[in-house]
């Protein structure tokens, strides 16, 4: 497939933004300036970016506990994301949700939640709405390999197939559900094969290769817009950080989960570094330009942290009861 320079640059810039944003949380987490649980997306950027680059504003997505990347890739506001992770009143969920509840309805990011598999059925409903309203929009459900252990996923895949709904199930298989390696929780680690049982388009993608994710999603979106959905994509990737926070869950450390060697192998497959090499090799950008983009992004995000830290968290009884019910 041929890609426009504009598309390639956008893919890169968004992956970079997500990476720098995610890594920028580490210091304030360690300093206890950020208190809520933060599940970093570092290492998995190519999935959110490759998928969302195919979506339009009218398309709807739902995320999981690890959804900063989905939110940003769908167009969510950077400052509101960072503010939410600090649980500030100007955060995207006004400090009521924290890192695990990011939302941006105006861009079609309809929410995220840490109940494993909890938003898959919500995305199914969104696709049902797309189908009834017949506006050629699609819904995307992002979830991890852990969610493949939830019965609701397969209930949703069956119903979507039955009704030919425009939904793309994106399983980010990072081979760990919290502390459990995939081979200890699944009889078959090829999750996309399970989806094939429902007679739908189901593919495995190298989730660290943004162009491969982009291409497969493009096919899936076309299928869904033609009314021939649903589709299932298993994107194999790896979280470079641990399950939650900056702890990398390395064997021998107190969380003692992942072999150091395994982490090193995946570091070689870093989606951003590899894409940089691709861009340079194809003369899309040069290394100076890349350095400049990185610096710019770091400065921007760093300035946002400073600004947000000076704002207040919502507090007090009156604030507590806001938003229980809509009037």
């Amino acid at each position: 497939m041929a890609y426009s320079v504009k598309t390639l640059k956008l893919l890169y810039q968004m992956m970079l933004r997500i990476r720098i944003c995610e890594e920028s949380f580490i210091e304030p987490i360690l300093n206890r300036e950020i208190l809520c649980p933060v599940h970093l997306y570092t290492g998995e950027e190519a999935v959110a970016v490759g998928v969302c680059a195919n979506l339009e504003k009218k398309d709807k997505i739902f995320g999981s506990h690890r959804s900063h990347g989905h939110y940003l890739a769908k167009g969510g506001d950077l400052k509101e994301l960072i503010a939410e992770v600090y649980c500030r009143g100007n955060g995207c969920s006004r400090g009521r949700g924290g890192s695990m509840h990011v939302i941006s309805p105006e861009t079609g990011m309809l929410g995220s939640a840490p109940i494993v598999g909890g938003t898959i059925s919500l995305a199914l409903g969104a696709s049902l709405a797309c189908s009834i309203q017949n506006d050629q929009s699609v819904a995307v459900s992002f979830f991890g390999d852990g969610a493949s252990g939830e019965g609701v996923l397969w209930e949703c895949v069956n119903f979507a197939s039955l009704k030919k709904l425009p939904i793309i199930f994106v399983c980010e298989n990072n081979f760990y559900s919290t502390h459990m390696p995939i081979d200890e929780i699944r009889a078959n680690r090829n999750i996309y094969e399970a989806a094939k049982a429902f007679d739908i388009f189901s593919k495995q993608a190298d989730g660290n290769n943004v162009l491969e994710v982009y291409d497969i999603t493009k096919m899936a979106v076309d299928i869904c817009r033609r009314g021939e959905g649903p589709c299932f994509i298993e994107a194999r990737t790896y979280r470079m950080r641990g399950h939650v926070g900056p702890d990398d869950n390395i064997q021998g450390s107190h969380t003692d989960i992942r072999p150091k060697k395994e982490i090193e192998i995946w570091a070689m497959k870093d989606p951003i570094t590899n894409f940089e090499e691709y861009l340079i090799a194809n003369c899309i950008v040069d290394s100076e330009e890349l350095t400049a983009v990185k610096e710019r992004e770091k400065e921007l995000i760093s300035a946002l942290h400073v600004e947000i830290k000076s704002t207040n968290k919502p507090g007090g009884k009156e604030e507590l009861y806001k938003y229980v019910f809509k009037d």
């Binding site: 969920s93 006004r94 009521r96 939640a113 709405a129 609701v152 209930e155 069956n158």
Partner: protein, 330 residues
């Protein structure tokens, strides 16, 4: 201005049907989803003719996948439409607790008011007839416990229609629980669309001697008790709470302040139930006025039995209500 007296009678099941039909007619953005919407076997007359009127795109009979289907209703509601998710037996809805409690009830709050969930969860209590423990439960207390959910339980046809209209119009998740034992109840039901406000109780009968606060089908049994007690010159004030949450605390306090005695009758279990809640509210607000401790009648802490002989022991009837009231007034 003369009041037009409406004499059109309708049964409870058809009153719900009319609410659904009229609301779906007015708003093409409303869908109905759940098992058995095509089948009177499941939902009585409540969904009569809806598929024919609105098509299978908007009236969706589903696989036995309660979790996914209920979550889909929530997702529809998050996408600019409104959804009604019916469960012909409330027992099966336990598979769908996650989308109801974790997702729908919390969504508006945990997203700082960005997106509300205009969804109606409509589980039906369907019990008796030796159906046993998994076909008989009344679980309203469990939902009423959850912040972010409203819970309504109409006991007459008029309220059944009006509360369904209000539940659909509400921008928040509403759990609408009806009881198959009420489906034959007939009352005046205006033909036009009207609402019964959520959070407002119904004063069924005025009396001086004692306040009976009843929930759902228990209102029916209490009404029967009330007629017999009248013969004994006992004047009962009967309140149908209609909305379990938010409770109409004001109406309860007003009545108990007058009668100074209260009996709460619930169709659910006694421990940690609605009767405990109402009793506490009365004690917190009317303690100095009470002439007798608040009494409660509710299901024993026991699963529903199958044997019809045991069922007689298990369910609360007008006889229990009469006996309890006479004890209080003795």
């Amino acid at each position: 201005m003369s009041l037009k007296i409406n004499e059109r009678k309708l049964n409870y099941g058809l009153a719900i049907n009319e609410a659904l039909s009229q609301m779906m007619e007015c708003d093409k953005g409303i869908i109905l989803i759940g098992q058995g919407v095509k089948s009177p076997w499941y939902v009585g007359q409540t969904c009569k003719d809806l598929v024919a009127k609105f098509g299978e795109d908007r009236v969706i009979d589903t696989p036995v996948s309660e979790n996914a289907m209920t979550g889909a209703a929530v997702g529809v509601a998050l996408s600019g439409m409104k959804a009604i998710a019916v469960h012909p037996r409330i027992d099966f809805l336990l598979y769908a607790i996650d989308p109801i409690i974790n997702e729908a009830a919390n969504w508006y709050y945990m997203n700082g008011g960005k997106l509300s969930v205009p969804v109606v969860f409509w589980p039906i209590i369907n019990r008796g007839g030796e159906q046993g423990a998994q076909h008989s439960q009344a679980l309203h207390a469990m939902f009423a416990h959850i912040p972010g959910l409203k819970v309504v339980m109409p006991a007459d046809a008029y309220s059944a229609k009006g509360l369904m209209v209000s539940a659909i119009r509400d921008p928040n998740p509403v759990v609408y629980i009806d009881d198959r034992w009420l489906y034959g109840e007939i009352s005046d039901v205006p033909e036009e669309i009207y609402d019964v406000p959520i959070g407002k109780a119904r004063l069924v009968a005025e009396g001086e001697d004692i306040t009976v606060i009843a929930v759902s089908y228990m209102v029916k049994e209490a009404e029967l008790a009330l007629y017999e007690l009248k013969e004994l010159d006992i004047r009962v004030e009967l309140i149908d709470i209609r909305t379990v949450k938010p409770l109409d605390v004001e109406s309860i306090i007003k009545s108990v302040s007058k009668t100074k005695k209260a009996l709460v009758v619930d169709c659910g279990w006694k421990s940690f139930g609605i009767s405990s809640e109402i009793s506490s509210i009365i004690n917190e607000n009317c303690f100095d006025l009470l002439k007798h401790p608040v009494r409660r009648l509710a299901l024993p802490d026991c699963p529903a039995p199958a044997s019809s002989e045991l069922e007689k022991e298990y369910y609360i009837s007008k006889k229990d209500i009469i006996r309890e009231i006479r004890n209080i007034l003795r």
